[in-house]
Symmetry: C4
Subunit: 356 residues, 4 copies
Amino acid sequence: MSYKVNYSPLLRAHTPPARQCHKVCDVAHGSSMKGQTLLSQADGAVLCGSDPPDDSVKALKAHLWSEETSEMERLLGKCRIRSQLVRECMAECLGVYILILFGCGSVAQVTTSQDKKGQYLSINLGFALGVMFGVFVSRGVSGAHLNPAVSLSLCFLGRHPWMKLPFYIFFQVFGAFLAACTVGLQYYDAILAYSGGKLTVTGPTATAGIFSTYPADYLSVWGGVMDQVIGTAALLLCVLALGDQRNGSLPDGLQPVLVGAAVLVIGVSMGSNSGYALNPARDFGPRFFTAGGGWWWVPIVAPCVGALLGTLIYQLMIEVHHPPSPSELQTSCQEANEGKTGLEMEGGEPDCVKPT
Amino acid sequence: MSYKVNYSPLLRAHTPPARQCHKVCDVAHGSSMKGQTLLSQADGAVLCGSDPPDDSVKALKAHLWSEETSEMERLLGKCRIRSQLVRECMAECLGVYILILFGCGSVAQVTTSQDKKGQYLSINLGFALGVMFGVFVSRGVSGAHLNPAVSLSLCFLGRHPWMKLPFYIFFQVFGAFLAACTVGLQYYDAILAYSGGKLTVTGPTATAGIFSTYPADYLSVWGGVMDQVIGTAALLLCVLALGDQRNGSLPDGLQPVLVGAAVLVIGVSMGSNSGYALNPARDFGPRFFTAGGGWWWVPIVAPCVGALLGTLIYQLMIEVHHPPSPSELQTSCQEANEGKTGLEMEGGEPDCVKPT
Amino acid sequence: MSYKVNYSPLLRAHTPPARQCHKVCDVAHGSSMKGQTLLSQADGAVLCGSDPPDDSVKALKAHLWSEETSEMERLLGKCRIRSQLVRECMAECLGVYILILFGCGSVAQVTTSQDKKGQYLSINLGFALGVMFGVFVSRGVSGAHLNPAVSLSLCFLGRHPWMKLPFYIFFQVFGAFLAACTVGLQYYDAILAYSGGKLTVTGPTATAGIFSTYPADYLSVWGGVMDQVIGTAALLLCVLALGDQRNGSLPDGLQPVLVGAAVLVIGVSMGSNSGYALNPARDFGPRFFTAGGGWWWVPIVAPCVGALLGTLIYQLMIEVHHPPSPSELQTSCQEANEGKTGLEMEGGEPDCVKPT
Amino acid sequence: MSYKVNYSPLLRAHTPPARQCHKVCDVAHGSSMKGQTLLSQADGAVLCGSDPPDDSVKALKAHLWSEETSEMERLLGKCRIRSQLVRECMAECLGVYILILFGCGSVAQVTTSQDKKGQYLSINLGFALGVMFGVFVSRGVSGAHLNPAVSLSLCFLGRHPWMKLPFYIFFQVFGAFLAACTVGLQYYDAILAYSGGKLTVTGPTATAGIFSTYPADYLSVWGGVMDQVIGTAALLLCVLALGDQRNGSLPDGLQPVLVGAAVLVIGVSMGSNSGYALNPARDFGPRFFTAGGGWWWVPIVAPCVGALLGTLIYQLMIEVHHPPSPSELQTSCQEANEGKTGLEMEGGEPDCVKPT
């Protein structure tokens, strides 16, 4: 680790162009509390120009006491991947990993502590906050689908390219599988102690339900399909409403919280029949851990149907009826004119006040 | 599905005016994470002007990998309804549907799982978050009344036209009825298993309470009326305070969350007497499902009285006393002058510093 | 009710100056969803200038279908009180009323339903959300003290005039008393049924604890004083940190929510000893309802001591050490110079970079 | 307390530069509702200039009724410490104090009330909201690490100077110790009554678990290490995602709330094995109160490993892959050019579009 760059804060004091530099550096310093702009702060210092160090003891001391660019961040920076698709796949994978880590973790805690360290509401909170942090981890990179049924709906609406769909789905399932492994590792002792060493899918000390969803005893297959379709449709209705800018704006950063709230309310109101999977990846990834029964296809197929249904309901009841925004008016103008000859172009605009 | 428009991203590279276009498209691309502006992104691409496709393989590939306007969104766009009243009725209907779907769903879950998958607090959360998402779904279109008593109060204050009142009320009740049907469908197996096939209004396995509210055994009719009047008045007090810009501003998007919190606190503090209907539509719509007793009129009449009472209290204690804003001063100026002859108009302003 | 002003929307169409008006009105219409600016919308229409009505049937129809200024709002406007002190007293009274209505209501619900419709956490939520809505109701008018101990601390810091203190305290206690009456009315049947008609302060069906706080059996008086001092000091620490702009900013509207969260966490972590009164008004107002014992002075004296203590801790550990803001630098400059002769005024500024 | 300074509002009238002051004062007055800028309001008033007092009764009256600078705030201002390090240490100390006061307080409440005044979820809420308010108290001064493992990770990333690390750690542990003392004082009577006077680490009425964490009976040491590593890594993943501006922005003031939510979800999903210490200071400070066993080193070592692990995962999967921001591009430009001779400087920019 070399300290070459570290001398600069010290030296700025006696170099003439340092004057206006202070301002820049102070600003960077002021925002340094968020812990994210420290890199650019130190880099800002570099930009201010500085002479070679003439007092390395002082400089070392300054280095040890002030926040500055580290070799570590530089080293990490060398690992940067530029492929957008790889970045998106990693983000989806990590997002679903977080979701399942917290979600299935809360089921494991409630199950193995026999309701002493949490109740059904804890599980609802675990999945809700798991989804919220999954969205926070991946929103800026992949758009935080975290759910094959959501990816499918967005492809269907034309808001996501179909060719990316298999990649997204694979890494969503893979992230869920990794998270199930982690939960299994973290609760290994607890699951053994709780089940007496016998890992079973049914019975009083069944632990398969920690990882995947199973229907209640009374539930028919048709009832389970209905349950999943209605739940996923309700989820999509809420998520689309939250993202519909023309219905009302949201402060940046509140959307992931409210997506979590949607998962919370679905868990509170639609969780008892079959465990609100609503997400093929959430259910299928962890199921590799446990023996499946005849139920496995329901949390894969029904959420996709439900997601498309919820999308259509919200579109047909609210979103498509919004009056067009100015930019859309202009566009439809353009489109209308594309059917005509190029000569009509300049005279075309008056027709376009009402979009076709 | 034709790919005509899809060639454009490819072709922009060799057309001269594409230069300044990139900026526009990049901006659109940057905001594409919210999933709502993708349509305009692709449209923006169209605006950039492009030559006819000369390489359809490349173009098809580009299409499959990039996000762009879909035929689907165009198809959905054709369903657009322009009538403001129809849009408002659909929004109220869908908003109340969401509210009851989550609210009554949570009662069904707690009841049929016999408190194993939720307790009274889950029901409080179900209605609170149900109201929140009901508001998010409808706020930009109809103003999210979701409650005939609220619509009535707003008409009374002159903030909503009286003629729209019956339409709003009908579609609020209709949305609640549809939601009760959906909850009945989703919990069909569970309700049958819980009640042993006997659907009853009273008794140890009564399930009518999933859909409508019933008073506690000890409650007199007069006590029930008081309960509903106080609860609805408290709701209106809170909602009016949240919307009173001169009392303090709120970030856009926080208001629906806090309206949900108002419903939560009322459920936590005024729920045990008669189930905090507070909303004629919430109670009357689902009641078609179940046999009614002598109680049905209380959750219809008392919330309306309470809503008017709460409105009056907040108005008379807080809102009417706010010092007038500059625009109101100007208006009252104008009004004062309207009583005079037109000639006094230009000299009228000095009198108007203090509104009459 | 006269419809004079209602013609204007209709008439604007054929008056020449209506052109640039449309913009104004559309803007007003766009913001009309919040339900608070509808008054100014209609007034805006008035400002656009219009001819006398020539078709009153059409005008009446337009009136009935559009949102506009009502006679009701005009009538309510006549009740406006201009005295700042009276407005502040009403706001404090209504704010504490809301706080106690929800807080004591939640205790009544949990007590009379014997933990079936809520548990201790519901009571924590009832007081937390009660404080939150109490703040929302009064924040813009009185600053939302809602607590004599808070008013006292602010007077002590010089942030509130001492002369207003008795008025604030009286109306805080009065609001709490009114709320206790309301809770008593709302839960009259429930309390009678629960207690078998015997209203007692102690015993298995005691109901005095619904209204005031009582210490746990094991608690010594000194332990109770400590409990209240620590609790109120923690509350003030949190509230002062939330309001300390130089420690970090908060979006408008989040502060009341976080004050509610402070009350929630105190209820969750300091509630079991003596019921976290923390507020002389919260305890003393409702106590008129019930027989008091030797405990009554603790929730009055100890919160005041605790509030001063918390204020001092936050001041001495965080707030006084913030580097001075530019405006304070200027002021201390000025003050330093006031001690000198006026002639030194213009030369005084260089000394003032470091405040004295 | 003398009222000398109170005449000043009166005296301001006869100084010439008072004119442009009015504006300043109005601004200050407008923001006075938040209760934190009242000091500058009154100071602003001093600048506005007024005649010498000719009627000290009036002046006194004005003083008593209006909000103005107090002797108290001036007195407190004299205690201001200018050393940045001392301020940061005090902030870390107070922040951890708040965290442990609420966190361990909630454990004490649930334990001594035997689950009657709270359940495991209350403890989750106590720690979550404790962390949140700890962050609010210290975020603007020290950056709110509140955890030696977090400080270590930030030093490792080069975002915090290594030399400050021992100071931070000492005051974090010291704050936790003080808080444990306070909880011990507040729950002294309750702990004695609950344990029958015998303070034990194990057994049915053990109270050591109020202060420090102990593993579940079934947990192996290796399982405990895994549990702590996974939990702390998950915490760091969430916190780094919340602070990663290039992944998505957050409104100021929401970040502390969401850090609290991260602690909540970890408590809900990873709390039953060994009590989610995740923080050497949280566990080691209070442990001085109680007898330790062979477990004490796990909550010290494992969180540090976990924090570094979580940091690396987030860095390598999300943050390092963000496309560079414009300012970073410029910097890497500069750096690339530093390797060349100074003459190439002006020609160096074109190479720099792609950072090296």
